[in-house]
Symmetry: C2
Subunit: 205 residues, 2 copies
Amino acid sequence: MLHFQSHDLDEMNKIYRLNMINSITGYKSAHLIGTQSSEGLENLAIFSSVVHLGSNPALLGFILRPTTVPRHTYSNFKSTGVFTLNAVNAEQIEDAHHTSAKYPEDISEFDQTTLEVERKKEWDAPFVKNAPIQLGCRYLNEYHIKENDTLMIVSKIEHIYLANELLQEDGWVQLEKGNVVSINGLDGYTLPKLLERFPYARPKN
Amino acid sequence: MLHFQSHDLDEMNKIYRLNMINSITGYKSAHLIGTQSSEGLENLAIFSSVVHLGSNPALLGFILRPTTVPRHTYSNFKSTGVFTLNAVNAEQIEDAHHTSAKYPEDISEFDQTTLEVERKKEWDAPFVKNAPIQLGCRYLNEYHIKENDTLMIVSKIEHIYLANELLQEDGWVQLEKGNVVSINGLDGYTLPKLLERFPYARPKN
């Protein structure tokens, strides 16, 4: 096995280190976060840091780096209080990745890709049409992670829209049925296939 | 599409809601966290909430629910300051899932599964033998998420052990080369296949 230590990381080329550290922590979810500004300008940005926080209430978190692209996302949901979270399917990966390009605030990523806006009357943020899972989320709080000046955003899931074929009998949502992708590192898009579902684990006798 | 709102979630059967909300936020990474107590008792527990925080310094976070199984994990890394993070490969999924069973503190999950301890002289926590990626992590800080009484643990990656075939020319770690799995919900284990890697996204003219 290869072995790298802290001082090896310190001395690495920046891009090489970005690639390594972003991929070494395993597969990540792929989401497009849709927001709009108080003036109604729409924004869409890819995130791979969504994490489950709890089921009751239904809470999720994600990490925001104040110094990078999704800054418009932040100012938008801070002013409107809401955003959408849209699962990325295999047909959308090229466009989804393109939302990471640095466009000025008055350019909507919806206009620069083939991704289409879907509006729902109950929510003041744009959903992505044909996303197999669409979540309407309300901003609740943020925690400043002082170790590297990032933010952990905490939000509540208030609306779930779900393609019928994903939902299984016991509430489990089978992502494979919607060709939902996961991300390897900064730029590798993968399609997972189910190996097995296990029952609730109990101690052996 | 199906539509569920907050009040639908409030009224759901608990297990049904657990399945739904744990799977609705997309694919998650699969890691075995290895720790030992100050008395040297080893512990191993599966986590699916690891999130990338930054590359320089190399930081990751994960969520800990104080009321559930991995409590031993917490008390151990709080007393020793360190833990290991081991990627789960396709051959290890049944045993990896079994580490979520509630064993008393004096029972090591290594003894209840076929997973084997690998010791490295530079680190006071057990690694999982044959894990395609093994990380030696140091606890830095924790943030109490008051919205649902969970903890976000922040840690620094100090050692990376990596099977040779995973590392690509530009530092990208191709998880597929190690049959690394990802998790769908609480109990679905999946194997991702690479669709495509994209170049750095730049605005279109």
